[in-house]
Amino acid sequence: MKWLAPLLLALSLAAGTIACMTAYSPWLDAVERAVAAGEELELGAPSGRSVGAGGSIAPVATAGARLTPELVATLRRAGVERVRVRQFSFARWSHGWMFATSAAGLVLGAVLVRREMRARVKASSGEAGSANSPAAALACVRQSLRKLDAEMPTLREADDGMRRVTSELGELQATHLDTVLQSRERIIAAGGLGGFAAFMSAYSVMERQINRAWSAAADDAADEVADCLKRALALLDEVERLLPQ
């Protein structure tokens, strides 16, 4: 069942695009009726195939040729079944029904996908207090930042102090910060798109301070590292407040 929605979407898209291929290539019968009714049609591509002297292949009619009853008859004698025309008409579109069906399939597929997504989020939101929850991840972030902030006086003086800072912050980026980013669906389910946007907006500002601290540590700019850690901690309050529960 998990594959039903993507399969439906894929098949519907394929059907819709296949249907579009005949939008400008109606049956010759339909063209004949239109020409007889006085409609002015022009060929959009060469049509028909004739073998000339010396075996050279050439079209019976070239692109741009005006379709007249005589030309249509000539093309029919040449075995042509469809022609490409420059003018589109729903009445001449042989696969219009397929396009409409594919559109319905795409809508149904979208409904199924959203329903499945809601079910998945509902299942995972039961783990609100789990170690993988964004709230728990933010708590770990706070703990790590506090620890680093407290150790900064020592780390400044140590030979490999800044190296340890990049290592700690790198670990933070790869684990707890990543956990928050992977919780997108859960956060949207809890707070809607508006709540998610407000949270991510604040979160990103804090995250950028952590990234800046990492860069500063890589450049041995200890003062900048200290400033960034303090700013990140200050911003974390708002981030946690904005996290939808």
Partner: protein, 660 residues
């Protein structure tokens, strides 16, 4: 904003050196683009050069200073793709671009306007695209890996270097033929026989090897950068591959087999026919519809993003460029577009007098406005005859005889036509910038040529089928705008990953964006004039130095098609409808991804797809963390290696051409 904080970020050294490097890159890549049809992104090259110059030679560059360096250099370089996709069309259509011609400077001004508009218009969406939606921007991630190399540890830096070396080695036989040495094609001839088309200098035709019919194209580009970009994109990139599979492995072969193509179409020509007849219009339509749906669904994020522009100066407000400078820059850009549109609209469209048949020049003082066009006459008497003795039917017939169909705005005075075109052009630039930035963010591919095509069609529809100069001018402005929009957003993504303050990158980029279009335009002019001095055409087929301008030729074909009423507008509409419906599901950008790859060259999409699959396999067997820690740096190296080697080869070729 503190320019002299203790931690080095925005420095005169970074800006000045970056501008110089950007100019050199721009010139070399403009020349290469005129020959091969596509350009190289400059951010990765700039990051490596910045690293080498600031940290290696000057011994004082910081991570953030190098980030500013690559921001500035790529901003100066990037506009070349916008210029080469559009401006050469004017030359191909017979217009003369010289130092003395008003058209040259007008188009340059339009490109500068586009550069400013593209950069400022996308800034308000930084928060939405990068902070909230977290668009990946694969190359930008690779650039961040380069910038962070000093602190990432020796092992990871070595992995990055390994990626660069492997990429350069793989790409070398692709580039050698440009220097006159044998490449992969010679190897292919040795294996499969002389004249074979299975293993060429740039591609490998797997389909032919395994016996797949030629109407289904199974050809892969020998492009390490595509592999690297695909790897960094990962699983979402499979949607891009899906669009290519649909177009080249399902639609084209099916249409050929069912007889839905002209009877004279061969199996080998099926792909080409399918591209023009339905894959391109459907793909572009899907892209547009998908982008529109994406914007609608992202409205909450966009609303939040705009809040930041008007935020009071707190820690968050200070990070972003405010609304006032953006509005000022936007108005300046709009005015430049208006002035350019007015001047172009006042130029006569005819070369001979409709009454006397004598030649008339652009500077003819006797002109009349008719059908939305300016018509020139050989003298006051001829102009009076036109007004008093010629009937309306005669006048309309004359316009038809020179293929000048009236546009939608034909009945309006010139100043109003120009104002509307400038406004619609600016709005379209805004929307197209969003599309391009989203595409680049999701996949690293940007459908600039598709946007250029739509822009030209839009302006011809508004101003009339003979308003080619105006259409190309706005098209050039748009192309430059969207390339800079994508570049700005990618640089901001890199900046986010290294902790840069967005406002600093935004201000430095806006300060230098005008340089790039001037450089690119001058290079096009120099190359065109050098070709004419050698007795050949300025550009296009037969140009002495091989500057065939393939993308411009494609745009020329579209313009001729529009003028001849050959555009399949319904297919664009149906594609847009399908693209919008695709965006209703969980992933609003689905229509954009699939549409994009339906009309991009499949050879690169196929190689890109291999990279995506490689990421999925590595993640499956070694875990996500391992893939991010080791796979991404190697993939970043793959992007950088080809870029640097391609630039070096282009510089050598340019130097040889200049010396010759």
């Amino acid at each position: 904003m503190t320019w002299h904080s203790a931690y080095r970020e925005v420095t005169p050294a970074a800006i000045v050196l970056a501008v110089l490097i950007g100019i050199v890159m721009n010139a070399a890549i403009t020349y290469a683009g005129l020959k091969i049809g596509f350009t190289i992104g400059g951010s990765a090259i700039a990051a490596v050069l910045g690293f080498g110059i600031l940290r290696g030679i000057l011994r004082r560059g910081s991570v953030l200073e190098t980030n500013i360096f690559q921001t500035v250099a790529s901003a100066v370089n990037t506009s070349n793709s916008g210029v080469i996709f559009t401006v050469p069309v004017l030359i191909l259509l017979g217009h003369s671009l010289t130092w003395m011609s008003g058209d040259f400077w007008l188009v340059t001004i339009a490109c500068i306007a586009g550069a400013v508009l593209g950069t400022v218009f996308i800034i308000p969406l930084r928060k939405q695209m990068i902070d909230i939606e977290r668009l990946r921007f694969p190359t930008a991630m690779g650039v961040a890996v380069i910038l962070k190399a000093p602190g990432a540890g020796v092992k990871r830096s070595l992995v990055l270097v390994a990626g660069i070396v492997v990429s350069a080695l793989l790409f070398l036989p692709v580039g050698l033929p440009q220097l006159g040495f044998p490449g992969y094609g010679a190897l292919g001839n040795a294996i499969f026989g002389a004249g074979q088309a299975i293993f060429t200098d740039t591609t490998i035709d797997v389909g032919r090897v395994i016996g797949i019919p030629p109407q289904a194209q199974v050809v892969f580009a020998l492009a390490p950068f595509a592999l690297g970009a695909g790897f960094i994109t990962g699983r979402p990139g499979l949607f891009v591959l899906a669009g290519g599979v649909l177009a080249y492995w399902i639609l084209a072969p099916l249409a050929f087999s069912l007889g839905w193509m002209p009877e004279t179409t061969t199996a080998a020509g099926a792909t080409g026919y399918a591209f023009t007849a339905f894959n391109r219009p459907l793909g572009i339509g899907l892209l547009l519809g998908g982008a529109l749906m994406g914007v609608l669904i992202s409205l909450p994020s966009i609303r939040e993003a705009f809040k930041g522009l008007f935020a009071s100066k707190g820690a968050r407000g200070r990070d972003e460029l405010g609304f006032k400078p953006i509005a000022i820059a936007g108005v300046v850009g709009l005015v430049l577009l208006f002035l350019a549109a007015t001047y172009v609209g006042s130029e006569p469209i005819n070369k001979t007098c409709p009454v006397t048949g004598e030649s008339v020049g652009l500077a003819s003082p006797d002109t009349r406005d008719f059908g939305g066009y300016t018509v020139a006459f050989s003298g006051a008497e001829a102009a009076a005859t036109w007004e008093t003795r010629k009937t309306e039917a005669d006048r309309v017939s004359y316009l038809e005889s020179i293929n000048a169909k009236p546009g939608l705005l034909a009945g309006l005075p010139l100043w109003l036509r120009s104002a509307i075109i400038a406004l619609i052009g600016a709005l379209w630039i805004w929307f197209a910038g969003i599309i391009i930035a989203q595409c680049t963010g999701m996949t690293d591919w940007s459908p600039i040529s598709g946007m250029a095509l739509l822009t030209v069609v839009l302006i011809l529809f508004l101003a009339g089928s003979a308003a080619v100069v105006g259409a190309v001018m706005i098209g050039a402005a748009l192309c430059v705008a969207v390339t800079l929009a994508a570049d700005m957003m990618a640089d901001l993504r890199t900046g986010h990953l290294v902790g840069a303050i967005p406002r600093r990158q935004q201000v430095t980029e806006i300060s230098v964006v005008a340089i790039g279009p001037v450089v690119a335009m001058l290079v096009v002019l120099i190359i065109a004039q050098a070709n004419m001095a050698q007795g050949g055409p300025a550009l296009g087929p037969g140009a002495p130095n091989g500057a065939i301008a393939p993308q411009a030729q494609a745009l020329q074909a579209v313009i001729i098609g529009v003028q001849g009423g050959q555009m399949p507008y319904a297919l664009y509409g149906f594609g847009a409808f399908l693209g919008a419906l695709l965006g209703l599901g969980a992933f609003s950008g689905l229509g954009v991804l699939i549409g994009l790859s339906m009309y991009l060259p499949f050879i690169y999409i196929a190689t890109y797809g291999i990279g995506c699959v490689a990421n999925m396999l590595v993640t499956h067997f070694k875990g996500r963390r391992w893939c991010e820690d080791w796979g991404i740096p190697f993939a970043a190296g793959m992007i950088v290696g080809e870029s640097i080697l391609a630039l070096v080869i282009n510089i050598v070729v340019l130097a040889k051409a200049g010396g010759g």
